[in-house]
């Protein structure tokens, strides 16, 4: 008895070390890079607060599929595209400010639901390969998105304003300005606080309130029947099917919820940026959000709200300081740019490798236990 509890403490320690290693590494990178970058604390804190408001909602949308055991949802890009379509239409209709944002969100919902349903259906056909499949789906739908935005908008879907239309008469320009909507949500409740040693910090209060609401929603959702079902499905497909849970439906629902949330997240992200890069805004968003979540200490099968916020702070701190620090060390600013891209990919790679090795280890432990049990029975 004593022995087993000791062993458990040991594995807990190991678990803690493993989970903590990535955030720790990032704290070290940031600790080295911040002095080298020569950025003032005021600027750093302001940047971090802005980026927290910009990205947290998007990253939170990843949590529910992880809960349902479907891994990192690379298909969140689908939601981002739905959000962009909503924004493009709204800016053509010249509906500005908060009403425009809300309308864009309303438009994005049916598109997100449709795309999420498609994605969930396909992922059900590729069980055990969800991540690579959702990753390819994001490319596939990107093709459809380009077809719609580049060829159908203006020719089939009416677009009136020439400011967002390509000169040839159909298709959307490379950038769509959201000047009428720019930081409307962030500035709805203006607040500037002065921190000792840092100076004035601008806080996007309303954005944070929206993010907080989403956090409460996720906490509440975990306790609902559907949330419990998702956790069960995430634990063990077979057992939950035997206990009467409709596994397929639950998995599809988790992807749909994630896609819809990602659509909202993208609208919040873009109102902060102030313009849409029509053909590239969404392409990198999945990768950066997933990397940030993993930097916060999440893994493929376990992620919490805490991971999201720690991840946003650490990842974006690295993102801000790396180019400057790289320029300071080597005299070439491109090195820092490449460095941060490399780190994003490397973090995802390491997290995936850790997840797969752990899964294998757990599986072999399981089979060993089975064998032992069998031996006992026979002996």
């Amino acid at each position: 008895m004593n022995k087993t509890s000791k062993k458990k403490v040991n594995t807990d320690m190991g678990e803690l070390m493993r989970r903590g290693s990535v955030p720790l590494m990032f704290i070290l990178i940031c600790a080295v890079c911040i002095p080298l970058s020569g950025l003032s604390p005021n600027m750093l804190v302001n940047e971090i607060v802005t980026r927290m408001g910009r990205n947290a909602f998007l990253i939170l949308s990843l949590l529910i599929p992880i809960m349902a055991g479907m891994g990192l949802n690379f298909g969140m890009t689908l939601g981002a595209m739905a959000g962009e379509i909503g924004l493009i239409l709204v800016s053509d209709w010249q509906i500005v400010g908060i009403p425009g944002m809300v309308l864009a969100m309303i438009i994005s919902v049916p598109i997100s639901v449709l795309l999420g349903f498609f994605c969930g259906k396909i992922l059900n056909m590729a069980k055990g390969r969800e991540m690579i499949t959702s990753y390819i789906i994001s490319y596939f739908i990107n093709g459809i998105y380009q077809l719609v935005v580049l060829y159908l908008m203006g020719s089939v879907i009416p677009i009136r304003h020439t400011s967002i239309k390509l000169p040839r008469g159909y298709g959307i320009r490379n950038t769509v300005s959201l000047l009428n909507m720019r930081q409307m949500l962030d500035n709805l409740i203006p607040l500037r606080i002065t921190l000792p040693g840092v100076g004035e910090v601008k806080i996007p209060v309303m954005t944070f309130i929206v993010i907080a609401v989403l956090c409460f929603f996720i906490v509440w959702f975990r306790r609902t029947k559907l949330g419990q079902d998702m956790r069960a499905v995430g634990q063990d497909l077979g057992v939950s099917r035997d206990s009467g849970i409709n596994v397929e439906r639950t998995r599809i629902l988790s992807i749909i919820i994630s896609t819809v949330l990602a659509g909202f997240g993208m609208i919040i992200y873009l109102q902060n940026m102030g313009n849409i890069a029509t053909y590239s805004s969404h392409s990198q968003i999945g990768m950066f959000c997933i990397a940030a979540l993993l930097v916060g200490g999440a893994s493929v099968d376990k992620a919490s709200i805490g991971n999201v916020f720690l991840g946003v702070v650490l990842f974006h701190l690295m993102f801000i300081v790396a180019p400057r620090a790289g320029a300071a060390i080597t005299g070439d600013s491109m090195i820092g740019e490449y460095f941060r891209v490399f780190v994003s990919y490397a973090v995802i790679t390491v997290a995936l490798v850790m997840y797969e090795t752990n899964k294998r280890r757990a599986k072999s432990r399981e089979s060993e236990r089975l064998r032992e049990a069998q031996m006992e029975e026979e002996g």
């Binding site: 396909i122 056909m125 590729a126 055990g128 390969r129 991540m131 690579i132 499949t133 990753y135 390819i136 789906i137 490319y139 596939f140 990107n142 093709g143 459809i144 380009q146 077809l147 580049l150 060829y151 080597t330 070439d332 491109m334 090195i335 490449y338 460095f339 891209v341 490399f342 990919y345 490397a346 995802i348 790679t349 995936l352 490798v353 997840y355 797969e356 090795t357 899964k359 294998r360």
Partner: protein, 356 residues
């Protein structure tokens, strides 16, 4: 009753044909055929178009061939192709740096890239052996991380050759390096056949044929058969006394080396070395080409490579010209994205027998 069985049989024959050929493949082949028929009517020159397809086939053939060993050993589709491409790029740039020119530079590029491919392949294979079952996702990210790591390296490594570095700074490699005077078209010009607008790069095709034949022959040796066994049923293979991990490692090394040679062949046809982010998206076209050719996640043959590359490159070259001439709208890029990724999705959702 008798009539019924006959009817069933007939339908079965057609169904069998569709099954064996695959519905998406059939659609793509018919689409390409339609494009070829349409081409003369919309004013495109057919011989030029066909020689374009052949040329592009010759550039990409070896890269697609690099998929075969890993698929055979059950490591899945090689989304980590960029890793091999990087070994090839190292070979190419070092060969120029050391001052080799003309056809010798091509040979030296292959020679120099080989040790890199072996080392990278070994590391990659070791990693993939530890994560059996999750190969494809991790391979993708291994490829991405290595490309972005090398982005830094191309800037830092002390290359000096004035033909490759930035003129102003005198250091750091350029994003595209012209191969004129080095190995531009060395294979293609070997025994090339030219009749009017029609061209066949015989040398490149021969080079591909030799490699393809070598792989085909290898798959029929004892080790090659073991590789197929590992891919189709690892448990059975282990019971038969095959060292599964060693065979998988070998297949990964072979794939990596073929990718290195593949990019060199591609460069000699294209005429430029592309560095930095260029290798990033090179895996997806190769993966979808072999899938269009009829391969699945754990089954691939040389024939799949040849058919797939012709179909894929055929669509890539034909759609822009035909579409442009017909409706004055270049939708080829969008069609390429949808077709290639749709094909990969189709393959991923197939139920694969003997999967883990």
């Amino acid at each position: 009753m008798n009539e019924k069985t006959i009817e069933k049989k007939e339908k079965g024959a057609f169904g069998k044909f569709v099954d064996s050929f695959g519905l998406p493949r059939l659609i793509i082949a018919l689409f390409l055929l339609l494009l070829l028929i349409l081409a003369p009517f919309v004013g495109a020159d057919l011989p030029t178009q066909i020689s374009n397809i052949i040329a592009r086939f010759s550039w990409n053939g070896v890269l697609v061939l690099a998929m075969v060993p890993m698929v055979h050993s059950g490591c899945g589709l090689n989304f980590g192709l960029p890793l091999g491409i990087i070994s090839g790029l190292l070979g190419a740039t070092l060969s120029i740096e050391f001052g080799f020119t003309g056809p010798v530079s091509f040979l030296m590029a292959i020679l120099i890239s080989t040790p890199f491919a072996l080392v990278f392949g070994t590391g990659y294979g070791w990693l993939l052996n530890r994560i059996k079952g999750g190969e494809m996702m991790i391979a993708t990210y291994v490829g991405f991380s290595s490309v972005s790591l090398m982005c830094m390296m191309w800037l830092i490594l002390p290359y000096k050759s004035p033909n490759m570095v930035w003129g102003m700074a005198g250091k750091g490699l350029r994003t595209t390096i012209s191969l004129e005077g080095y190995y531009d078209q060395v294979l293609a010009n070997f025994l090339a056949i030219r009749i009017g607008n029609f061209e066949i790069p015989t040398g490149t095709l021969l080079f591909f044929a030799v490699l393809a034949l070598a792989i085909w022959a290898f798959l029929h040796t004892k080790t090659g058969t073991a590789m197929t066994a590992v891919g189709s049923n690892p448990v059975f293979a282990r019971a038969a006394g095959i060292n599964v991990d060693r065979i998988r490692m070998l297949s990964v090394i072979m794939s990596t080396w073929l990718a290195a040679v593949g990019i060199l062949v591609y460069e000699q046809g294209f005429g430029f070395i592309q560095l930095y982010m260029a290798p990033f998206y090179m895996a997806l076209p190769a993966v979808s080409a072999i899938l269009i050719g009829g391969a699945s996640v754990n089954k691939a043959s040389i024939m799949n490579v040849i058919i797939g590359t012709i179909l894929f490159q055929g669509i890539v070259t034909m759609t822009p010209t035909v579409m442009n001439n017909m409706i004055h709208m270049d939708m080829s890029e969008v069609i390429r994205i949808i077709v290639s990724n749709g094909m990969i999705l189709y393959a991923l959702t197939r139920k694969t027998e003997g999967s883990r």
